[in-house]
């Protein structure tokens, strides 16, 4: 039976994740209310505006169930705004996040839209070919805990993708473009037991 992977569809680029999952033979499910979390094998929290997404998650009662699922080994992947939702924010910043990954994040830390950038990344887990990273008003991973594996860094050593058990995050947008390797990595992570 095909894997069922939910994509949180409150705001942002959820349709792009749905397309990528479909190309990998996964059964994607748009999730707008918490009852739709049941029966899923994994969840993706997409790029979008982290304030809008976290506010709607809080209001519709997603925070506690997703936090409990993430803590009990349920695979969750956050891209950009999704990374923010999974992490701990630098003190004093808005909005409230789940803090299930032991990383600290600073929002919009690369600057405004004119500072957004694309660059080739080398991600050992995805094979030898470069992966094209699209960074849009991206957050910066400012601190990484001991239990977290950094999967990819910019040439200056800045971490941009990380994994902690079954939790995966990146500050760029693998859902934009045609390269499905990052999604394949997540699907493999969902299907393997370690």
């Amino acid at each position: 039976m095909a894997l069922r992977i939910g994509v949180l569809a409150l705001q942002g680029a959820f349709a792009e994740h749905v397309v990528m999952l479909g190309r990998l033979g996964v059964d994607p499910v748009e999730v707008r209310l918490p009852p739709q979390l049941s029966g899923l094998d994994a969840l993706i929290i997409p790029g979008g505006e982290s304030t809008s997404i976290s506010l709607l998650m809080s209001e519709y009662g997603f925070l506690a169930p997703v936090e409990n699922m993430a803590k009990s080994g349920f695979p969750v992947w956050g891209t950009c705004a999704g990374l923010i939702v999974l992490s701990r924010l630098t003190p004093g910043s808005y909005p409230h996040t789940m803090q299930v990954m032991d990383i600290e994040v600073k929002r919009n830390a690369f600057g405004r839209q004119v500072d957004s950038f694309e660059t080739d990344l080398h991600i050992p887990g995805l094979g030898p070919d470069a992966f094209h990273g699209i960074f849009i008003r991206a957050p910066r991973i400012s601190k990484v805990g001991a239990a977290v594996d950094v999967l990819c860094k910019l040439p200056d050593g800045e971490p941009v993708a990380a994994r902690q058990g079954k939790l995966l995050c990146c500050s760029f947008h693998p859902e934009l473009g045609n390269d499905t390797r990052f999604h394949r990595y997540f699907v493999d992570m969902v299907t393997t037991s370690t």
Binding site: G48, S93, Y94, R137, H173
Partner: protein, 293 residues
């Protein structure tokens, strides 16, 4: 490393999808919008209803207001330049706005030419009334499209007309044999490459939002069900009696646009909507949508 590419420009619009972009005239408004769940704000001196009421030449806002709004919130900030006024656009880019709306709500600076948007690192959104107009703006470099609607009226009828026209145009192209595409490109007044792309993909190459006349949660959900990927709300929020509550309700109705029970719930007790205008009662020369081509 590359910056200012079409991927980054249209990519930001993709991140705004499913969200509500709200017109604000003060930092306090901007904070209310952010707290209500807006995915971006449009920084202005006056909302369209006031521009309409006061008349005269409407221009880019004072940079002081735009900078104060940029300082006040962490979500993206957009601002408007006049159609064809590429220096206003240069100024807005220098101020660090995240998106420029080349808008018919302001008085056009050029009746023949829109801004050549490829020259900018900052992305642009432009209004349209039909598919041809959308594709003309995209060919000039627009990275996001919205319906024009009739801004400042609180009347959804024009936005509905424009969204249906765009969708009809797309469906027509999709079902057309390839040898008829050049003639259709001529009819649409649009570049053949973009016409072929829409024929092949069945959608616009950039994100398409609804704008112009949205005043209620049901208006927002109506536009989403008609195919909009998100909504702009101009005067509809801060010209209503309880802006924070209405803003939150419109955000929720946009997310849950197919869930009528939820839309009913958020529509309860919102107070007075903005006063509306019948389009037929507006003198022809005061209509905003026909500005631009």
């Amino acid at each position: 490393m590359e910056q200012g590419t079409q991927t980054l420009k249209s990519g930001l619009a993709q991140m705004l999808k499913g969200g509500v972009i709200m017109d604000v005239v003060t930092p306090e408004h901007a904070k209310i919008a952010e707290a209500a769940g807006a995915c971006a704000v449009m920084a202005l001196e006056r909302v369209p209803a006031d521009i309409r009421a006061q008349g005269g030449v409407a221009r880019m806002s004072d940079p002081t207001i735009i900078s104060a709004i940029i300082e006040a919130v962490s979500i993206p900030v957009m601002a408007k330049c006049r159609i064809g006024h590429f220096v206003e656009a240069q100024v807005l880019e220098a101020l660090g706005v995240d998106y420029i709306d080349e808008s018919e709500v302001l008085t056009p600076a050029d009746e023949n030419h829109h801004v050549w948007k490829h020259d900018f690192k900052v992305p642009f959104v432009c209004g349209c009334r039909d598919l041809g107009e959308a594709l003309r703006r995209i060919s000039e470099g627009a990275a996001m499209i919205r319906t024009k609607g009739e801004a400042g009226t609180g009347n959804i009828v024009e936005a509905v007309r424009h969204m249906r026209a765009v969708q009809d145009g797309i469906r027509k192209l999709q079902n057309m044999p390839e040898d008829e595409l050049p003639a259709e490109a001529k009819n649409l007044g649009a570049p053949i490459e973009l016409v072929r792309e829409v024929h092949r993909t069945g959608k616009l190459p950039v994100v398409n939002f609804a704008a112009g006349g949205i005043a209620t949660p049901a208006d927002a959900a109506l536009m989403m069900q008609l195919g909009a990927e998100g909504v702009f709300v101009g005067s509809g929020i801060f010209k209503s009696s309880d802006p924070a509550k209405r803003a939150g309700a419109i955000v929720r109705a946009t997310t849950h646009f197919r869930d009528a029970r939820l839309i009913a719930e958020v529509s309860r007790g919102l107070g007075e909507a903005m006063p509306g205008l019948d389009i037929k009662a507006i003198p022809k020369e005061e209509l905003l949508a026909p500005r631009g081509w």
